[in-house]
Amino acid sequence: MSTYQEFIQQNEDRDGVRFSWNLWPSSRLEATRLVVPVSCLFTPLKERPNLPPVQYEPVLCSRANCKAVLNPLSQVDFRAKIWACNFCFQRNPFPPSYAGISEVNQPAELMPQFSTIEYIVQRGTPAPLIFLYVVDTCLEEEDLQALKESLQMSLSLLPPNALVGLITFGRMVQVHELSCEGIAKSYVFRGTKDLSSKQIQEMLGLIKPAASVQQGRPAAPQDASAFCRFLQPVHRVDMNLTDLLGELQRDPWPVPQGKRPLRSTGVALSVAVGLLEGTFPNTGARVMLFIGGPPTQGPGMVVGDELKTPIRSWHDIQKDNARHLKKATKYYEALSNRSAVNGHSIDIYACALDQTGLLEMKCLSNLTGGHIVMGDSFNTSLFKQTFQRVFSKDYNGDFRMAFGGVLEVKTSRELKVCGTIGPCVSLNSKGPSVSENEMGVGGTSQWKVCSLNPSTTLGIYFEVVNQHNAPVPQGGRGAIQFVTQYQHSNTQRRIRVTTIARNWADAQSQIQHIESSFDQEAAAVLMARLGVFRAESEEGPDVLRWLDRQLIRLCQKFGQFNKDDPTSFKLSESLSLYPQFMFHLRRSPFLQVFNNSPDESSYYRHHFVRQDLTQSLIMVQPILYSYSFHGPPEPVLLDSSSILPDRILLMDTFFQLVIFHGETIAQWRKAGYQEMAEYENFKQLLQAPLDDAQEILQTRFPMPRYVDTEHGGSQARFLLSKVNPSQTHNNLYAWGQETGAPILTDDVSLQVFMDHLKKLAVSSSA
């Protein structure tokens, strides 16, 4: 076991890859019977401080539909200066520059430790990064002020040569011209009119109206200074823009009593996308949308401006009572796709107490790799720090962001790729390694990931296509190559290539090996992604049923039991945690909409399908630490029994950090013992979880909501809703024990869940 643990860890560190199975069943039939598909979580830009990029271009297989990159798994004939592609077996001569190659003089890409290697491509002119702020001005004065300050601050964080632009909107949409002296100039669009990209560009004066363009001549060459009016290098317009932001006023249109302000988010985005489309297609750009409420007019409207009509809830949606939902979603999807095609990503920073329409707008970020940040107000550290962290830099001083990524997956013959789940869109590139069976976004071997950061992780699903009657030769290995082209934040174009291989195993004879190669963490996350992906389009209960069935089948396959004897059921260690993950997943906000608004669900799901394995696991099953006088801090069960009066608990759900003071501790704290010198240790106890929380806060993106509460406090609900309700009002007195806190819920506890699972797994009728 330990070997597999290490192997897994090592692979993750080196290649950013975690597979559900680390031994692959050699036939399609067997693979299907494993329930959990052969799949992996892949972090394309995993930070690799020890991976210096090489300054040349990759050597590609010459076969037109292969084009795999030369890698350590390739067979190389040093004398003939020929290499054989390990995917298509094409024999390729080395390019002239490899003339000096020999067994002792190998290029980096042939060395095993460089299973992941990064090339810097010199072609093309480096394109600047572009940041286009799209700012809602229908905010409270205080919020707007905070937002303005954040934006002004951000100017100092941008790379000096980056281009910035500013669009503000409320009832109208204003595109600000940044290069003008004297009078501040802006172009205004009506907030209710859907304009085509061409119209927008015409209206901004970026292109001449069609009528005046001479026939036969292609569109007049774009006037370079024309688009520069709206997108200017930071260093040049720093002052101007700071002033402009400073003078930014709240939307001046009066809002009658009982109405929402008119917010033209849809048109604003359309203008932003249209502007970038016309000026910088296929260049890395971030549209950063800051909103303080839902779009209330024009295309993309989510809710009307009557306050008496509340914004849609899950209830409304289920009853098909959300009249703007479909139209708005469709509108934003169309925008997202346009934006994705051009490699522009869209971030949404939504700060409001009520919903802001993230449900409808989520695709903007989901499809383009943008961020979604949700907060209560722009005047909170949650927003301020999160926003600041968008511009964080790595150990090299480069921004932790990359643009215009294209991920290509190549597989050896026995495998095909079914699809991915993550912040990407399909590029519709058919090829030999594309499976007909789609999981997630499939039907292609290439995906566009408009914006990437080091933690962006995609779930990639494969299918074993080897037929049962054509066994793979013993010792044969399957290989997968991930080729990620992207624009580095320093404007270089780079290509990162990761090539991995796993052994084939005959499922019938080597089932034990396969079982022990199971990575239950990865598998849980991968299955969860499938579940979440389904939940976007299916009814919640159906998804849960599907998940349950998968779990039961897995248990039936790998559990040891006697038929119809639940007590005899046993799972091996490599699967032992998996049911628990599933239990918590079932209760998680990713699949449960109860108690969450549609916006919140969208927000949670958004982050779930892009974070790496560790973070994802935290989301599925929050971590609970306990601090007490009884010993050093320790992780404890996420169970109501862990809630004791003399403990401080720290729970990390990824989205929230909750510090919970047990009843006794809370009383002590209230009494002020920590202020007394003789209770120094109590003070330290109180401090410990704070310090740990701080550590997490420092690194997490987005900043979690930080909650400090105590027994009986209203905010304690965050904790109570997460723990396994092993004690509830239903069984509390029956147990008659003094441990833990009862949870007022009718949810089943893990115990009950497991009992049912066992029963079903062993049932012969299942």
Binding site: M172, Q174, G182, I183, A184, K185, S186, Y187, V188, F189, R190, K193, L195, E202, M203, L204, G205, P209, A211, E247, Q249, P252, W253, P254
Partner: protein, 1126 residues
């Protein structure tokens, strides 16, 4: 005619068909009084006549005396008198005349007596003949001769004719002309009858003359006739006329031969007289006659200039030519005119009869001034005819609205619809609800009836006014309009005195005054919300043209000072009016000039397809508060676009934007749009060049005046609904489809100012004066006007820069002190002579400070079953205002030619009706005009010569459309001035006098080679310098050694320190101040090319682009009348 009516017909229809009243004459006749001139007077008969003519006083003695009122009687008397005088004529006539008479019989018989008379017969004859317009040709010869003749003859006209003239005529004629001609001539002379016959349409002659042929002939003859026309006319006129052809030819000859002239004289006198007739006749007649006679009396002063002497040589070469035949000239013209209408008019030269013999507007104006100038006019008498608009007087409101607010075409309405129909005199009122009052008249009182709003009649909703009858001890009142009896609200109760008047009669303006205002309550506000103060938005076209011409800079600079002077309420420090700024080419730029900003912000809206306003707060601001930012903006605008080479513009979206801005700000206001070119950019309201000169004169000509359908129509409605008035300043360098572009301004109470080929030096000051006046003038917004009338009649038609959503509410986005609405009334039922007819005009509007008010004007009129009362109480200036507006509206729907015909026909009908029903019997050949309408034909003729009606391809379509539209909103003063410009001699100024020199008649004959004349009509101003202007004059005015040094394009006189220069400048300055529009001063030298421009304003002469001279017109009308009467 009447029947033909335009669509507008109403007016016409009313008119009575025909009376053909006085054929004889040139109504001028009636005027008798005026025409004193006839040199002719000398003679006994003439004398009296003249007297009549000129100043009733002298001559006719009793008769003539009071011109107006007693008109009729006077007339009669005059007539009587005349007869006497005439007597002679008769004799004469015998030769020629009688015959004529006879034909006309009625005429004839009466003829003599009627004073008005102008010889009529003759004249009639002449008419026909004149047409021939022999004038032209004759000129040379004629002039000398003719003049002579005429002059002398005139006087004689009456008497003499017979004798001497005839001879002449015949002589001349015969000689020159071919036999036939002579024949004809002779004929006429001979046979008075023939003459008559002709005119009458009787036999050949008449018919001919009348008939097309003559016309044509005339026209034809135009030239040839020209000269002789005169002669011909008279004489042959008839005969000739008949022969049309011959006539002309004759004419020509005649002309040639002065003989003609002579003849005319001779023969004519009588017959010719027809022409002369008028002259001869009483006045007119006399006049006419004189012309002929003129010669003999040598044009005694009056004519002289015109006719004779001067004519001859120096002065009017051209004219002279024409006129040369003075006499001839006119006549011919006449004929031509009428006959050929168009062509004819054009006709050449006419010769004139003595021009001074025909009714003179100048004289009428001066007389009225002398009589009522400087006096107080109290409005306490029902049906009282106010002084003329040209007279300075003070109004004391004693229960009827001041004539400054309301004027009527007649102050005595016919009591039945039948009568109204019979006389065809339109019944209309011209209401200028916001007219400026002179400083010495009390501004309107504001009455507040509290929360319940003004007290009104429950049934017809008329407002409390002096006509309401309180009964029942004051507890109830009876509405004077609908007779409904209403309870007096408790708070309004007051006891009645022994007279049945309320005890508070004098304390309450609404009980004792004709005009006052009510404070309107919320019920009178849009959406029941108190309106916000109005706003002015300045929208500047910053396309290449305007930048290049420097206009943008000019406007921006001017606005800085101009905005300090926004209109404000009395006693308030600063104006409540907000201001906003927009610039545009094919996109619009809005400016945020909020006072809190350090710099203005520009917001560009490119979405012209669906215009909207990008900002609210900061767009419309208080000028005083945002002054710094606005200054900054105005400084920057010219620079910002200095490099612009955008030449395409949008237009409809600009208006839309302004309207939306008002909508967003929930206020009303006015847009000042400074625009340069046809909007061709891709946007709603994009226009194409649809100017097609080929349409002129066809049935499709009307399309040139019609706005293009679509966007603008809708926009007008929206603007009116929002209270958005649009003022358009156009700076075109070519056709811009003004008819369409001005569509919105012309429905929203706005004005259109047009500066062709704007050049900073020449037009800058002119434009700025307009702009200043326009921005500063007093104004009300978001107005709805309702005209209520007492039972028996009601308002049926409305003309003005207005919008009508239904048939009663007159909606105006704004109404300023120059806007007038002409309302036409029709009978529903019989009117009571006892109670008279009441009109209440209620205007609901928003003041410049945002208060909602009701302005009420009340006017009571007489009713009478006697047409004579009606004619006596007519107001020519108002009539012509009505005719101008209705004709200008009519050309939208029918061919211009039809409209002209209708005008002439109705004129003839009105006059004929008078002749038939009111005037004492006289010879048919006499032209008899009601005293109150004696100058009506001049105006009418002038109207028909205005650009919209004249149908000439030489006139730019835009200019025609512009004039058409600008007249629609004009008040009486403006139309009066427009149709009869002031021609003021400036060469013999008394520099010490306070008074401006008296104007002279608008005719070339009044010019002098050595003179300097100022001409202005409210839209254009010329300083005309004769060829022989003395150098010292030039020196003192221009500081130049001679006329030759004068450069064109001078737009203002240099400021020189000498009394003459000062005086001249002062006069000009006063005029500019007084007129609603600023005028560009154009300096023209005699014989220079630009003089053509100037000449078209000499409305008594033949039109440059077609149209008859006054004299010709008169003759033509006379003939028409005779036809009607026969």
């Amino acid at each position: 005619m009447s029947q033909q009516g335009y669509v507008a017909a109403p007016p016409y229809s009313q008119a009575q068909p025909g009376m053909g009243g006085y054929q004889g004459g040139f109504g001028a006749g009636s005027a008798p009084p005026l025409y004193g001139h006839y040199g002719g007077p000398p003679q006994a008969f003439s004398a009296p006549q003249t007297g009549m003519m000129k100043s009733p006083v002298s001559s006719s003695a009793g008769m003539s005396p009071p011109p107006v009122s007693s008109q009729y009687s006077p007339n009669i008397q005059q007539n009587g008198a005349h007869p006497q005088r005439y007597p002679a004529p008769p004799a004469v006539s015998a030769p020629y005349g009688q015959p004529q008479h006879s034909p006309f019989n009625s005429m004839g018989s009466s003829g003599p007596p009627p004073a008005q008379q102008l010889t009529n017969q003759m004249s009639a004859m002449n008419m026909g003949n004149y047409a021939p317009g022999p004038m032209q040709s004759p000129p040379p010869p004629t002039s000398p001769v003719a003049q002579l003749h005429f002059q002398t003859p005139p006087p004689q006209a009456m008497g003499q004719p017979p004798g001497p003239q005839s001879p002449h005529m015949s002589n001349e004629m015969s000689p020159q002309q071919s036999l036939p001609a002579s024949m004809s001539m002779a004929g006429p002379p001979m046979a008075g009858p023939p003459m008559a016959g002709q005119p009458m349409g009787g036999p050949p002659m008449g018919s001919q003359s009348m008939g097309g042929p003559p016309m044509g002939g005339q026209s034809m003859g135009g030239p040839p006739m020209g000269g002789q026309s005169m002669g011909g006319q008279l004489m042959g006129g008839q005969s000739m006329g008949g022969q049309s052809m011959g006539g002309q030819s004759m004419g020509g000859q005649s002309m040639g031969g002065q003989s003609m002239g002579g003849q005319s004289m001779g023969g004519p006198p009588m017959g010719g007289q027809s022409m002369g007739g008028p002259p001869v006749v009483g006045p007119p007649m006399a006049g006419m006659g004189r012309p002929f006679s003129g010669p003999s009396p040598p044009g005694p002063g009056g004519f002289q200039q015109p006719g004779p002497g001067p004519a001859g040589s120096p002065g009017y070469p051209q004219q002279a030519g024409q006129f040369g035949g003075h006499m001839a000239g006119p006549q011919p013209g006449m004929p031509g005119a009428f006959p050929g209408m168009p062509g004819g008019l054009a006709g050449p030269p006419q010769k004139k009869l003595d021009p001074d013999s025909i009714p003179s507007i100048i004289q009428v104006i001066e007389d009225d001034k002398a009589k009522q100038g400087g006096q107080v006019f109290s409005t306490n008498i029902r049906g009282q005819v106010p002084p003329l608009v040209t007279t300075d007087f003070t109004v004391q409101d004693q229960g009827n609205a001041s004539p400054r607010f309301m004027r009527c075409t007649s102050y005595s309405l016919p009591s039945t619809a039948e009568l109204a129909k019979q006389c065809q005199v339109p019944l209309a009122s011209i209401i200028k609800p916001f007219a400026n009052l002179p400083k010495n008249e009390t501004p309107l009182y504001v009455v507040n009836h509290g929360e319940t709003g003004p007290v009104r009649c429950n049934r017809c909703k008329a407002y409390m006014c002096p006509y309401m009858q309180f009964i029942d001890g004051g507890r109830r009142f009876q509405c004077a309009f609908c007779n409904c009896v209403n309870e007096v609200p408790v708070f309004y109760f007051q006891h009645l005195d022994h007279m049945g008047r309320r005890a508070d009669f004098y304390e309450k303006p609404e009980l004792s005054l004709g005009s006052y205002e009510f404070v309107a309550t919320l019920d009178y506000c849009k959406n029941n919300k108190i309106p916000n103060p109005p706003a002015y938005i300045f929208m500047i076209d910053v396309s290449y043209n305007n930048i290049k011409s420097g206009l943008v800079k000019l406007i921006c600079n001017e606005l800085k000072t101009l905005l300090e002077k926004l209109p404000r309420e009395e006693g308030v420090d600063s104006s409540a009016i907000k201001v906003g700024f927009v610039t545009y080419n094919k996109v619009l730029h809005f400016y945020n000039v909020k006072s809190a900003l350090a710099q203005p912000q520009m917001m560009v809206v490119s979405d012209t397809a669906e215009m909207f306003v990008p900002l609210l707060d900061g767009f419309l601001v208080n000028y005083q508060e945002s002054k710094a930012v606005i200054y900054n903006l105005l400084d920057q605008i010219p620079d910002m676009f200095a490099d612009s080479n955008e030449s395409e513009t949008v237009f409809a979206p600009v208006i839309q934007a302004g309207m939306e801005a008002f909508k967003a700000a929930e206020c009303s206001g006015k847009l000042f749009i400074f625009h340069s070119s046809m909007p061709t950019a891709e946007a709603p309201g994009k226009l194409k060049n649809r100017d097609d000169k080929k349409l002129v004169g066809t049935d499709k000509e009307k399309t040139l005046f019609q706005p293009q359908k679509g966007v603008f129509e809708q926009l007008s409605k929206e603007c009116v609904t929002q209270g958005c008035c649009v003022d358009l300043f156009l700076f075109p360098s070519q056709y811009v489809d003004l008819a369409t572009m001005a569509d919105v301004p012309s429905h929203t109470g706005g004005s259109v100012f047009k500066y062709n080929n704007f050049q900073m030096e020449a037009d800058g000051e002119h434009f700025l004066r307009d702009l200043r006046k326009d921005v500063q003038k007093s104004i009300g917004f978001d107005a709805i006007m309702r005209v209520r009338t007492s039972t028996g009649f009601r308002a049926t038609d409305f003309y003005g820069a207005i919008h009508m959503n239904n048939t009663t509410d007159i909606e105006m986005a704004a109404v300023d002190c120059d806007n007038a609405v002409t309302v036409e009334f029709k009978h529903d039922d019989a009117l009571s002579e006892e109670t008279g007819a009441l009109i209440q005009c209620a205007l609901l509007y928003t003041t410049i400070s945002g208060q909602r008010r009701l302005r009420i004007h009340n006017l009571s009129l007489n009713c009478s079953s006697q047409l004579s009362e009606l004619y006596k109480s007519c107001e020519t200036d108002s009539l012509i205002n009505f005719f101008a507006k209705s004709a200008y509206r009519a050309i939208l729907n029918q061919p211009v030619k039809n409209v002209r015909d209708i005008l002439v026909n109705q004129t003839a009908h009105m006059l004929a009706c008078y002749r038939k029903n009111c005037a004492s019997p006289s010879a048919a050949s006499q032209l008899i005009l009601p005293d109150a309408m004696k100058v009506f034909p001049v105006y009418m003729n002038s109207l028909m010569k205005t650009a919209p009606l004249v149908g000439s391809t030489e006139l730019p379509t835009d200019d025609r459309a512009h004039q058409r539209l600008s007249v629609m909103g004009m008040g009486v003063e403006d139309t009066q001035l427009l149709l009869y410009p002031r021609l003021i001699p400036m060469h013999n100024l008394d520099v010490n006098s306070e008074v401006a020199p008296a104007p002279v008649r608008c005719s070339e004959e009044r010019l002098a080679d050595s003179g300097m004349f100022l001409l202005e009509n409210g839209h254009a101003m010329f300083l005309w310098l004769g060829q022989a202007s003395p150098p010292d004059l030039i020196q003192s005015i221009f500081n130049l050694p001679s006329l030759a040094h004068l450069q064109g394009h001078m737009s203002a006189l240099p400021e020189l320190d000498n009394p003459l220069s000062k005086k001249v400048r002062l006069i000009i300055c006063d005029l500019l101040e007084k007129r609603p529009n600023s005028m560009k001063l154009q300096i023209v030298r005699q014989k220079d090319k630009p003089e053509m421009l100037f000449r078209q304003f000499l409305v008594e002469d033949k039109g440059l682009h077609g149209g008859a001279s006054y004299m010709d017109f008169l003759c033509y009308v006379h003939r028409e009348i005779r036809q009607l009467l026969s």
